[in-house]
Structure formats: structure tokens, C-alpha cells
């Protein structure tokens, strides 16, 4: 049997849709576990990236740090925290926040730092205060990239929340980890398919969002966008 037939058989069993630990419950839990770290990471990384991009100081450091960051294995970090703290709020929240910060930070920085100098000079020449330059000119122009960063951060978090099930977190990872532990491929495949669907929905959501919030004159640029 193929992956999809296993996954489909499991997802369409009505027993999996009712009671505690059912599919709808775990989807909601998964979204909750993903939204909170993403929110915290955005509140830290977007202002920081915009500030660094505006002043132009510390940019090289940010980019290099983000590069090195990739090497940190999330599974290892989660397990290390679990060994020391047991299963707590911090155990799962911290690695997810840590994970989401670099792409958001780097894209916000790159977006603002990359704003055309002529445009920046024009904003200054029109008598805008630095605050106005940032909020009315630089951030709107950087918005496609900022959204790419948020999208990447969101996708990382949705993906990694799955792995956090290994140390006891709820969400869709439960089906995968428990299924692997009990040698049942059905829930493993079903859980994996649901995570993929969720990740693709996040992607679509951000595509929609960028249509709604990006200034008309900039649309199409995000196609060149980088993910970090």
C-alpha cells in the first residue's frame, strides 16, 4: 500500500475524529503550539531586523549568525531541555521561538537594508522624520521580504512542533510519534499527511496575505524573494 492509501484510510476512519486526542483536537492544538512561538519570534525579530536594516549596523553579523544557526539540530535542543527541565512550557516553547527568529530577522533586515537609496533620500528630502521614513517608506517596501521571513518562520514552527511530540507535546506529531512507537503505519502516514496539508495551507495563507498587504507597485517582487 502506498503512503496516500495508508494515510487516507486512517484519516477517513470516523473513530479518529471523535473523543480526546482526535484529529480535530490535535489540529487545533498544533495551530496553538505553532502560533504562540511565531508571535513571540515576530515581536522580537521584526523590529530588530527593521532597526538593523535602517541603521545598517550589525548586518553582516546578523547574516552570519543566522547561517551558523542552521547547524543546531532542533531534536537535540528539545531533548537537552527535556532532560534538564522535564516537560514544561519552556521546553517546547524556547526551541520553537529560537527556530523562528533567524529567518524573520534576516528577511526583515535584508528587506529594509535593500531599499533603494534614491527612495530613502527622497523620503528624507521630503522632510520625513526617521520614524516616518521607516514606517511609511522602508517597511512598506520591505514588506514582501518581511512576509517571506514570517512565512518561513511559520513553516519551520509548524514542522518542528511535530517533533516536539517526541518529548510529550500534543498536536499532530502525537499521531506520528505514537504510531512509530507502536509500529502502526496508519497514524504515522495520516499524521504526516495532515502536517503537510497544514504547512501548505500556511504557505497559501501567506501568499494571500502578501496580496492583501503589499503595496500594488511592489507586487511580483516577492517571487524573487529569499527565504532567509
Amino acid at each position: 500500500m502506498s503512503f496516500f492509501s495508508w494515510a487516507w484510510d486512517w484519516i477517513t476512519q470516523s473513530a479518529n475524529w471523535h473523543g480526546s486526542g482526535s484529529i480535530p483536537q490535535q489540529i487545533v492544538a498544533h495551530l496553538g503550539y505553532s502560533a504562540l512561538p511565531l508571535l513571540i519570534a515576530s515581536l522580537i525579530a521584526v523590529p530588530a531586523g527593521v532597526a538593523i536594516g535602517h541603521t545598517g549596523r550589525g548586518g553582516v553579523l546578523v547574516v552570519n549568525l543566522a547561517n551558523g544557526w542552521r547547524a543546531i539540530p532542533t531534536l537535540g535542543l528539545l531533548i537537552l531541555l527535556a532532560v534538564f527541565l522535564g516537560f514544561s512550557f519552556v521546553t517546547w516553547l524556547l526551541p520553537l521561538v529560537v527556530l523562528a527568529i533567524p529567518p524573520i530577522l534576516v528577511n526583515a533586515y535584508e528587506g529594509v537594508a535593500g531599499v533603494d537609496h534614491g527612495v530613502k533620500d527622497a523620503a528624507k528630502g521630503m522632510g520625513m522624520t526617521p520614524w516616518q521614513q521607516v514606517t511609511r517608506v522602508e517597511v512598506p517596501i520591505a514588506l514582501p521580504l518581511i512576509l517571506v521571513g514570517l512565512r518561513t518562520g511559520a513553516i519551520f514552527v509548524v514542522a518542528t512542533a511535530t517533533i516536539a511530540a517526541y518529548i510529550g507535546l500534543g498536536g499532530l506529531g502525537r499521531f506520528i510519534i505514537d504510531g512509530l512507537a507502536s509500529d502502526q503505519y496508519g497514524p504515522v502516514a495520516g499524521g504526516a499527511l495532515l502536517v503537510v496539508v497544514l504547512a501548505v495551507l500556511v504557505l497559501a495563507l501567506f501568499a494571500l496575505l502578501s496580496r492583501l498587504v503589499v503595496p500594488a507597485g511592489l507586487r511580483g517582487q516577492s517571487k524573487l524573494g529569499r527565504t532567509e
Binding site: N67, I72, V83, T162, V195, V196, A199, L203, L224
Partner: protein, 227 residues
């Protein structure tokens, strides 16, 4: 930290490190081999790129653990499963860099090559690709470093890697193992990264060593993935 554990388990540690290196490096090379022709086509015929990029973005959104799982029925709990999944991710990272690198070749340089009588193929191989090397290698570095870290997830489906030390360390409540795993993965990734920097320098002796590099590597749709 129990230092004596390390020499006692030297051969285990060495085998896992080697396995992890293989699971990280091979997919990046395969990804490069697939990305080059696709990227060359996408850089030349512009209409080809947007649909490819959409596919790449969707593939990139698939959590690696989910992709491992999806490949199990076809390839079992083997290295192949992990290598194929990570090849897909490497492709997603490297392909945009190949396209960006080729497109960034200044038009006057291309025109000069044509004026000197270069055929399209000769121009591509001897002018455009060499000039794109720094950007392509920037993508390769991202892919290798991410793969080495992601390969540890293969352990969740029983494919051995340094991830074994995490899981065994958790089960035995033995932090030493977890530290060793973390440090080795990071060191392994940094070593591979440095090797690639060396390769880039060797291949592009005309590049200035420092300032321009930063600029070029940042002009790149580099990506990073997590879990």
C-alpha cells in the same frame, strides 16, 4: 558530563558521525546535480521559472519528518529514504541560487563573450557558470549545513545518525550523550561549510577575498529549513 564515556564509545561515535556526514553531504551533491540543468533552463527561458519556483516553495514547506514517512512504503527504513527526502530539500535551496547566480552575470560580460565568437554553450560553461559559482556555492553551503542537522531526524524512523545519541541519551537520562551529539553535529556542519568556502576560493581565484563576497552571498535567495 562524563568525559570517560567518549573514549569508551569511540567506535560508535565515529560510525554515527560518518553516517551523519554521508546523509548530509550526498543529498546536497545530488541536489546540485539536479539543480544545475533545471537552473540553466530556468535562467534562459524565463517563463519556466515561476511555475518551478511554486513547486519548490511547496516542496520546501513539507516537513522533513513527514517526507521521510511518505517515502517509507517505497524505500523502507533505510538511508535511501533519508537521502531522497534531503535531496528534495537541497534542490529547493540550491535551484534558486543557480538561477540567481546565472541571472546576475552582467549583460556586458555576456555580450563580450558573444562578440568574441563564443557559442551559447561555450559561453555558459566558460563564462556564465564560473561567474555564478559564489552564489551557487552559497546555496550548497546552506543545503549541507541544514542537511547535516536534519539528518539527525532520520533516527526517529530508525535510520542511524548522530540523532541516535539524542534519543539514547533521553531514554537513559544521560546528558553526556546529548552534548556529544549536539557538538558533533555542529562541528561536522562547520567543517563541511569551511571545506565549501575553500572550494569556492579555489574555483574563483579572481574574486576578492572579503568585501565583495558578503555582497554577493547576500544577493542570494538562500534558504534555511528546520525540522
Amino acid at each position: 558530563m562524563m568525559w570517560s564515556w567518549i573514549p569508551q564509545n569511540w567506535s560508535l561515535i565515529w560510525n554515527l558521525t560518518w553516517e551523519n556526514a554521508k546523509l548530509g553531504v550526498l543529498p546536497a551533491l545530488y541536489g546540485l546535480v539536479i539543480s544545475l540543468p533545471l537552473g540553466i533552463v530556468a535562467a534562459r527561458w524565463r517563463w519556466f521559472y515561476p511555475p518551478v519556483l511554486t513547486v519548490v516553495n511547496v516542496l520546501y514547506a513539507i516537513p522533513s519528518l513527514a517526507l521521510f514517512i511518505a517515502l517509507i512504503p517505497a524505500f523502507g527504513l533505510t538511508d535511501t529514504t533519508v537521502i531522497i527526502a534531503l535531496t528534495v530539500f537541497s534542490l529547493c535551496v540550491i535551484l534558486p541560487n543557480v538561477v540567481a547566480g546565472l541571472r546576475a552575470v552582467p549583460a556586458p560580460i555576456r555580450q563580450a563573450a558573444t562578440a568574441m565568437g563564443y557559442s551559447a554553450l561555450r559561453r555558459l560553461v566558460t563564462v556564465e557558470l564560473p561567474l555564478a559559482i559564489p552564489v551557487i556555492i552559497a546555496g550548497l553551503r546552506v543545503a549541507v549545513v541544514s542537511n547535516i542537522s536534519l539528518a539527525s531526524l532520520g533516527q526517529l524512523i530508525g535510520v542511524s545518525s548522530l540523532g541516535y545519541l539524542f534519543i539514547d541519551g533521553l531514554q537513559r537520562d544521560f546528558p553526556t550523550e546529548i552534548y556529544v551529539g549536539l557538538v558533533l553535529i555542529i562541528v561536522l556542519a562547520l567543517v563541511c561549510d569551511l571545506i565549501l568556502v575553500g572550494v569556492r576560493r579555489a574555483l574563483t581565484p579572481w574574486e576578492p577575498r572579503r568585501e565583495r563576497r558578503e555582497r554577493q552571498e547576500r544577493a542570494v535567495p538562500a534558504r534555511r529549513l528546520a525540522a
